[in-house]
């Protein structure tokens, strides 16, 4: 049904396969995006599997299916995997694929740095995940409170993997963030003013800043822990008078912005899906932009709401309670603006649309439960219980994951040139929707009826049995629905209906070029004259009320002046807003493309090898130092090569 409304443009082109070497050396943001997507989906399944094993253990009271030790590794790795290896990279997949297309660029600002980010992520992900296979995985919880994770109380290697792993993943996120922030500021097509950027690009822009400002803090907190564990410093040491709250504050200064890093990209995707399928512009675009910025900004002032039970005193509690509550306002604005985007439109219930609507409905629940523990005295009854687990799964799964599913169904045609199977999609959605609520809604009750989180076992007769049984059954259903999605994904990739440029009749630039886009994206960079350039061509009546300016032309004229030509952009490179159907190669069009290179991969590998040397510091100095030396040498050598060879 999806293709029905879509005016089919060019005859579909078979998307060309590319080989392993091509994958290893690519600097094309679209291919890197796909790498991110596949890797992150794998890790999502992995994290989900860990979750399901937990649910299997908790299905009945006094369960004996997994040991305490295993369970502690499971929830630690489940949380870590889902947050750092699944959702963030899934968002990164969309940053990579969409941002350049949405702003009318031919690539990101630093293509090779982009590849580097991916490889660091991949190796970091493998590094932190491997130990679960010999049950030596991190076991300190995803926020690794101190002093529990100092050598004194966690002598094994488990948390070493966590400290180093998160450190590595931080490098990846930061490198990517500098890259995308620069790209969005600097690579926009003529006339693509900030207030014309698609909402996904906007939310991504905010997220890049959250990463740029939040990750350094966790980096430092991790360095302290790293130094404590490996070099015997005293930051979190009990005997030296270290203060466990230092870690908690540093972690949550990062941690809360982090949760908005997880949700805002999903918000962005939904803001793309809803207008396209309601055939209406996004309701109150400027407010959506400002509320996004506001959420990000306020996100830096609420961190201690994770610490209401540590005894910060009434004043701090009050301050953080109030700042936390304030965030409900911009978020609420978003929710209602989404609803009113659909109001008066003509809604087409594609699978993507269903997921988007589900996000609006489900995130609201999670948000409201969030408000209930924004109130410290009430939170004292909720913190560290399953009520919290319910809250954050409603925002993380009901928010981030549903939004990302919406994004995948919506953009699959653009990425792979084929439509996803809507029938299977429909089944996936409904099963997932029911299972999700069956899994996580009972957790509200379990929590308010006194069930602590992070317990591998609980006694019978505590009034929790029924709720846990429900959650577990729900989790099993989630496996089924997710499996259906996986099946759909691969099936459609292979044999889905061939996709036109713009199957959803959407308004933004990425839909004005073939699916999948050619390596250079835009043969001619379009001059943007409004927020919905494509609807200006296909449905003028929808955008009539929206400001249009000649800035596109003016700006382009200005650029095609002597200065720009000198800087390699010719008149022929810019053209009024248009639809590109035929695909030529970059050579035919004479568009310079960045050379593929393996250097970023080796650099990333060097870094990971170097850090993994620390693991042997205690046991075997020789191995330790040789690993560090080899890693460092590799890294330095390839960075040097990298910096001394031109991009194109």
């Amino acid at each position: 049904m999806a293709t029905t409304t879509a005016p089919t443009f060019a005859p579909p082109v078979e998307r060309k396969r590319y080989g392993i070497m091509d994958r290893l050396t690519t600097v094309d943001h679209k291919k890197i995006g796909q790498l991110y997507l596949n890797t992150a989906l794998f890790f999502f399944l992995f994290g989900g599997l860990e979750a399901v094993i937990m649910r299997w253990q908790l299905m009945t009271p006094n369960g004996l299916r997994v040991s305490a030790d295993t369970f502690n590794q499971l929830f630690t790795m489940h949380g870590t995997t889902m947050i750092f290896l699944a959702i963030m990279p899934l968002s990164a997949a969309f940053f990579n694929f969409l941002i350049p297309l949405q702003i009318g660029a031919r690539d990101v600002a630093f293509p090779r740095l982009n590849a580097f980010s991916y490889w660091v992520y991949l190796f970091g992900g493998i590094f932190i995940t491997l130990p679960i296979f010999w049950l030596g995985a991190p076991d300190g919880g995803w926020f690794a409170y101190q002093p529990l994770n100092t050598r004194q109380f966690s002598p094994g290697h488990n948390m070493d993997f966590w400290v180093l792993g998160i450190q590595i993943l931080g490098i990846s996120s930061l490198a990517a963030a500098f890259n995308f922030a620069t790209t969005i500021i600097n690579m926009r097509a003529p006339g693509m003013t900030l207030m014309r950027m698609p909402m996904f690009t906007w939310m991504s822009f905010v997220v890049q800043w959250l990463i740029i400002l939040a990750f350094p803090v966790i980096t430092i907190a991790l360095f302290f822990l790293q130094f404590d564990r490996f070099f015997g410093t005293t930051f979190y040491s009990l005997s030296a008078g270290g203060d466990p709250l230092l870690w908690q504050h540093l972690f949550w200064v990062f941690g809360h912005p982090e949760v908005y890093i997880l949700i805002l990209p999903a918000f962005g995707l939904v803001s793309e899906v809803l207008p396209a399928n309601s055939r209406k512009p996004l309701f109150g675009y400027p407010v959506m932009v400002y509320s996004g910025i506001l959420i990000g900004f306020l996100g830096f002032g609420v961190w201690a709401h994770h610490m209401f039970a540590v005894g910060m005193g009434p004043i701090a509690d009050t301050v953080f309670a109030l700042t936390t509550m304030v965030i409900a306002i911009p978020t609420g604005v978003k929710i209602l603006n989404w609803i009113f985007t659909m109001w008066g439109g003509q809604i087409r219930f594609t699978t993507a649309m269903k997921f988007a609507i589900a996000l609006v409905a489900m995130f609201t629940i999670g948000g409201i439960s969030g408000i209930t523990h924004a109130s410290p005295p009430s939170d004292l009854q909720q913190t560290d219980t399953y009520y919290i687990v319910a809250h954050f799964h409603y925002v993380l799964y009901g928010g981030s994951i549903l939004g990302i599913f919406a994004g995948i169904y919506h953009y699959f045609p653009k990425v792979y040139g084929r439509m996803m199977d809507e029938r299977l999609g429909n089944i996936h959605f409904w099963l997932n929707f029911i299972a999700f609520n069956l899994t996580f809604f009972p957790m509200h009750f379990a929590g308010m009826l006194g069930m602590p989180r992070r317990i591998y076992t609980y006694d019978s007769g505590q009034g929790w049995d029924t709720f846990n049984m429900m959650s577990s059954i729900g989790a099993y259903m989630l496996v089924v629905s997710t499996a259906i999605f996986v099946w759909n994904f691969f099936k459609s990739k292979r044999s889905g209906a061939v996709a036109p440029e713009n199957p959803w009749d959407a308004p933004t630039l990425e839909w004005s070029i073939p699916s999948p886009p050619p390596e250079y994206n835009f043969a001619q960079i379009p001059m943007v004259t409004s927020r919905y350039p494509l609807w200006d061509l296909t449905h003028p009546e929808r955008t009539a009320q929206i400001p249009h300016t000649a800035v596109g032309h003016a700006d382009a004229q200005h650029r095609t002046g002597e200065h720009v030509t000198a800087s390699g952009l010719h008149e022929s490179d810019i053209a009024p807003m248009h639809i590109e159907s035929e695909r030529k190669t970059a050579e035919e069009l004479g568009i310079p493309m960045p050379h593929p290179t393996i250097k970023p991969l080796w650099t990333a590998l060097g870094i990971v090898v170097m850090l993994s040397g620390l693991l042997f510091l205690a046991s075997n100095k020789v191995v330790a130092f040789s690993l560090i030396a080899v890693g460092a040498a590799t890294m330095i050598y390839f960075i040097y090569n990298w910096l001394t060879t031109p991009v194109e």
Partner: protein, 237 residues
Amino acid sequence: MESHVAHASHHYTSTGLDSKKIAIWTFIGSECMLFASLISTYLIYKGRSVTGPWPHEWWCATTNQVAATAAGLANCPAGQVFKPILNIPITSISTFVLLCSSLAMVLALAAVENRNRPIAPNATAWQRALRNSKLWLWMTCIMGATFLGFQAYEFTSFVHEGLSIRKNLFGSSFFTLTGFHGTHVTVGVIWLGSLLAIDYKRGLGPKDALQVDIAALYWHFVDVVWIAIFTLIYLIK
């Protein structure tokens, strides 16, 4: 980050600015948070160590007494008295050196930017010197290295005075903070060194100004961080 080979404004950009310069500024923004975390940690742990030595106070190892002056520890057995760790005169000098290196750095940049401007035949030696990018890059590197030398001296003498990174909270947070800054300076020196190499190889001209500018921004930032550290950690008791 990206290639240093000059194709600065090769790409069409929406701001007309070069992406590398924007990137370095976002990076510097990030560094603000990095050093904010380090400095807050130092200040939070200030005065919370369970044993000495202390930054500004005298400490008696046997009685674990702390006093503002040596006189305060009159009853402390000889050899057990630890004097205040921080050495203001030395650090003041190294601070001054780092400040001067920033001056040298801007002059280096100016020299690169003006490389192609003809020098008046009657120009004084000083005016000619001002146009010599190598000279100023050298100056910057040397002063940076000098600063590092001072820091190396500082660290070793502190260790001799009984403050190691494992000794107490002060030791851990102090060495980590100043160590991070020192690492930044080291990276800066290497970076400037590579520019110097290019300058010798093919001479840095206006088309390289941007690269030098970026290195300079990094260098100055490391300098301003030290300005904050010097006041907050060394001077304020």
